[in-house]
């Protein structure tokens, strides 16, 4: 457009301080940075450990290795065959992890979190952007944030697989592991369904709610969940890591599972 947006020569107020905020605005991005970094580090290490991911006695499979698809998969852990070779760079769940990563990377909450905490664009409100140039999500590569919809569809399928893992583990009785696996799955569903894309598909895209009462009710439900999307994003990071750690501890024999019914 060719309009002159501001009068020529008009200048902003000359204020020397880059920000005059007096509160601890840096605390939130710092915590986000530390939390996300720690999690990514843990997850990377775990994914490439290639061991301690399955407890045969109780059919506990960590979500980081589900579904297990390489030749390396130990007895009972592979539910969908083992089409992949065992090369150390290929994770056991090579077909799902990239999509999960994509789902979370393009998630509207995580975008906010890492744009602020990692990219400092901006680190906090009314605190200057750390970069001289800014084009947002208008061009490559960030324009691919729009793939969130695809990732959501994939994440739904993966949530089904995780649900199957949790159900299968009930076959041998009932222990603390079952509780952890099930809680994780419930939170994963809550996080997935609270996604902004899901809210849109459920009903947000409609112009007339009154003509689609069923979808309106679904949209209302998803909207309520959606208000807690950030909370669920963090909770699921926690439950994923916890589930994985618990399975690892059992598989490595650090402690036995607490069984309620066997």
């Amino acid at each position: 457009m060719t309009t002159t947006v501001s009068r020529p020569g008009a200048k902003r107020a000359a204020i020397a301080a880059r920000t005059l905020r007096t509160d601890r605005w840096w605390l939130a991005p710092l915590i986000t940075f530390a939390g996300l970094s720690a999690w990514v580090l843990y997850a990377t290490v775990r994914v490439f450990m290639h061991k301690w991911y399955y407890v045969p006695d109780y059919h506990y499979l960590t979500p980081f290795y589900s579904p297990c698809l390489t030749d390396r998969c130990i007895e009972g852990s592979a539910e969908f065959g083992t089409p992949l070779p065992s090369f150390w760079l290929i994770p056991e769940a090579a077909f799902t992890l990239p999509f999960l990563l994509l789902f979370r990377l393009t998630c509207y909450y995580y975008r906010k979190a890492y744009y602020r905490a990692f990219w400092l664009s901006p680190p906090a409100c009314a605190v200057p952007d750390a970069h001289a140039k800014y084009t947002g999500e208008t061009r490559f590569p960030l324009v691919f944030q729009n793939l969130h919809r695809y990732a959501f569809y994939a994440a739904t399928i993966i949530s089904v697989i995780n649900t199957w893992d949790a159900i299968r583990s009930f076959g041998t009785g009932f222990g603390l592991g079952n509780v952890i696996l099930s809680a994780n799955v419930v939170m994963l569903w809550a996080y997935t369904l609270s996604c902004h894309s899901c809210r849109h598909i459920a009903g947000g895209r409609l112009k007339h709610f009154s003509k689609h009462p069923v979808r309106y009710r679904f949209w209302t439900f998803v909207s309520k969940l959606n208000a807690r999307h950030m909370l669920l994003a963090w909770v699921t990071l926690g439950t994923l890591a916890l589930t994985d750690f618990y399975v690892m501890a059992l598989a490595a024999g650090w402690w036995p599972d607490l069984r309620f019914i066997s």
């Binding site: 457009m1 060719t2 309009t3 947006v5 501001s6 009068r7 020569g9 008009a10 200048k11 902003r12 107020a13 000359a14 204020i15 301080a17 920000t19 005059l20 905020r21 007096t22 509160d23 509207y108 975008r111 906010k112 744009y115 602020r116 664009s121 901006p122 409100c125 009314a126 200057p128 952007d129 140039k133 800014y134 084009t135 947002g136 999500e137 208008t138 960030l142 324009v143 729009n146 969130h148 919809r149 695809y150 569809y153 902004h196 894309s197 849109h200 947000g204 895209r205 409609l206 112009k207 007339h208 709610f209 009154s210 003509k211 689609h212 009462p213 069923v214 309106y216 959606n226 208000a227």
Partner: protein, 305 residues
């Protein structure tokens, strides 16, 4: 009880933060302090204000670095010994003291295509359901204080983006019209993407954080708009749905008129309906009328109990 304040004084040729010691009484807000400075120490201190009740959005300023309304910032939220620094909005050119040139926002508002009334409906014949107008009503709460525009780093920290980026205020206007049950245009989202710079937004949510009306700008307007753009451009299932339900055989709606200086990407006109087709078909209404239900006889208990 005298407290210490620092107020930016100056104009576009330069300025400085000046110190004032002002009496503060119980229950006062920052705007009261500005008024006291005007009445007792600096009669020419420039500051906009009108309603003093958080309804007009005139007294936007930055208080201790945070974009706020002066009339809605109570002095009791600060420590008694705390120095309060008051500066003009940073994203806009300054006129004098706390008054800035906010014409950027009016220019952008003027470029956003206005409400397009439906054809064939006379005044008084408009019928809309409450649940259909509620989403747009949230955005119409906007008091145009422009704190969101001021906080948004896209223009606050990058003056050069002002040309291409219209800001959160314009996005909620676009969303409001796109969700308006009777608005006749269907290209609001394309317009937002192509002409308002929707893609510049990286949803860091500062606009929602500073909104004094608590409008969920990001969650309820910007993200839905982005998703509506995705509907048209990127969604595989919507494409498939069109193939299966033969939506593509419907006559393509003519491209909606665009402002004379706006251009529209051809790729954005693929869908025939706003919001893209629903899996059931957008021309389908519920309850389905062409299905015969076996209604229970009156008086008999319903199946759900």
């Amino acid at each position: 009880m005298s407290r210490h304040f620092r107020v930016w004084r100056g104009d576009s040729s330069g300025g400085e933060i000046r110190d004032y010691d002002v009496d503060v009484n119980d229950g006062e807000v920052v705007l009261d302090i500005i008024h006291r400075i005007q009445a007792t120490q600096a009669p020419d201190l420039a500051c906009r204000w009108n309603c003093k009740a958080g309804k007009c959005g005139s007294c936007s300023m930055e208080i201790n670095g945070k974009p706020r309304l002066g009339c809605m910032t109570r002095m009791s939220t600060f420590e008694e010994s705390e120095t309060v620094t008051i500066t003009p909005l940073r994203a806009f050119p300054v006129i004098r003291d706390l008054v800035t040139d906010v014409s950027f926002n009016y220019t952008k508002a003027r470029e956003t295509p206005a409400f397009s009334p439906p054809e064939g409906l006379a005044p008084g014949e408009y019928r809309m359901q409450q649940i259909d107008v509620e989403r747009s009503q949230e955005f119409r709460k906007c008091i145009e204080c422009f704190l969101c525009q001021n906080t948004c780093h896209v223009v606050r920290d990058h003056e050069e983006n002002k040309e291409a980026f219209s800001g959160p205020r314009s996005f909620i206007r676009a969303a409001e019209l796109d969700m308006h049950p009777l608005d006749a245009r269907s290209d609001r989202k394309e317009y937002a993407q192509a002409n308002q710079g929707l893609g510049y937004c990286n949803i860091t949510k500062c606009c929602s954080e500073v909104c004094p009306e608590h409008i969920k700008i990001t969650d309820n307007a910007i993200i839905p708009l982005k998703e509506r753009v995705v509907d048209r451009r990127y969604d595989p299932l919507v494409w498939l749905g069109r193939k299966i339900f033969r939506r593509d055989q419907l006559a393509e709606a003519p491209p909606a008129g665009v402002a004379p200086d706006a251009h529209l990407d051809v790729g954005e006109m693929l869908s025939t309906q706003s919001g893209g087709p629903s899996p059931f078909g957008d021309d389908q209404t519920f309850p389905l009328t062409d299905i015969t239900y076996q209604h229970p006889a009156p008086g008999s208990p319903s199946r759900e109990g």
